[in-house]
């Protein structure tokens, strides 16, 4: 009996509270889907840009350090044929090789900084 009256009361509540349901405005669905589509469109673009950035960095690195090793190779070959094997191990030659390495490293640092600044400017 008790259970029956509880069920009956539940039924009445259900009937009465049905009117309390609020209908979402028509544009809400559009707003939600638009935001989701926008977010989805932005995510792959971000990944693409990141990949592009990584590729650029590798290309730059290859060009600068490739040139550096070519110059060092030419220096070694020149010194070997003109001044002999002993000069290759002399402090003067090692100092020159370190200087060439430092100059190219500095050049690479400057180009990285430049790319970074360009990227930041583009994002803004």
């Amino acid at each position: 009996m008790d259970k029956y009256s509880t069920q009956k009361e539940d039924e009445k509540f259900r009937q009465i509270l049905t009117s309390a349901r609020i209908e979402a405005p028509e544009n809400l669905r559009h707003r939600i889907m638009q935001q989701i589509e926008t977010e989805k469109a932005l995510v792959p673009q971000g990944t693409k840009r990141k990949k592009e950035r990584e590729n650029n960095m590798l290309r730059e690195m290859g060009a600068i350090f490739g040139t550096m090793y070519a110059v060092l190779g030419a220096m070694v070959a020149g010194v070997y044929f003109l001044l002999g094997e002993d000069f290759l191990l002399s402090p003067q030659f090692i100092g020159s090789a370190i200087l060439v390495g430092s100059i190219f490293s500095l050049l690479w640092l400057i180009s990285r900084l430049d790319s970074h600044l360009r990227e930041t400017k583009k994002i803004r």
């Binding site: 009256s5 009361e9 009445k12 509540f13 009465i16 009117s19 309390a20 809400l28 939600i32 889907m33």
Partner: protein
Amino acid sequence: MNENQRVQQVLSGNTSAFAYFVDAYQDMAITIAYRICGNMQDAEDVVQESYVKAFRNLRSFRSDSKFSTWLYRIVYNTAITHTKSQMWIGSRAAAMEDASQLADNTLEINMNENERKEIVADVLQKMPTGDALLLTLYYLEDNPVKEIAKITGLNEPNVKVKLFRARKLFKEMVVSNYGVQITGT
């Protein structure tokens, strides 16, 4: 096609399949958000934010629970954060004081649909937020106590007790504010 299949569709890149979940649950989501926020503008923002959160975290949805329960939990948490409110503390004492006339066990509102709608909306508005929300979840969506516990983070016995008190308070407030009893027609 069941909901898990639709979830898989969305995860595999078909974003427009998510529209099904928006269509199916936006009314209840906005009802929950409105109960907590108290105004439509905030409720709409909360629902929009909740759906976007659900979309972003769809991979974490475990198919052993209902999608609606998972979504309503997000709406509930987002609304609480949005309003910075504490759901289960507070204003019942004041509401009980207002409802000075104790109702008996009957529930009778014998009037036309519009009047009844107005009364129900007004009483739910005046009730403590948590109580109004429990009634909404239990009677509007036919959520079992177990699902309500998952949505609100309360335990099941607690939901049952609060639901009992909410029903009692609702009846008392209808009687004290309108001097009528509710009946279904």
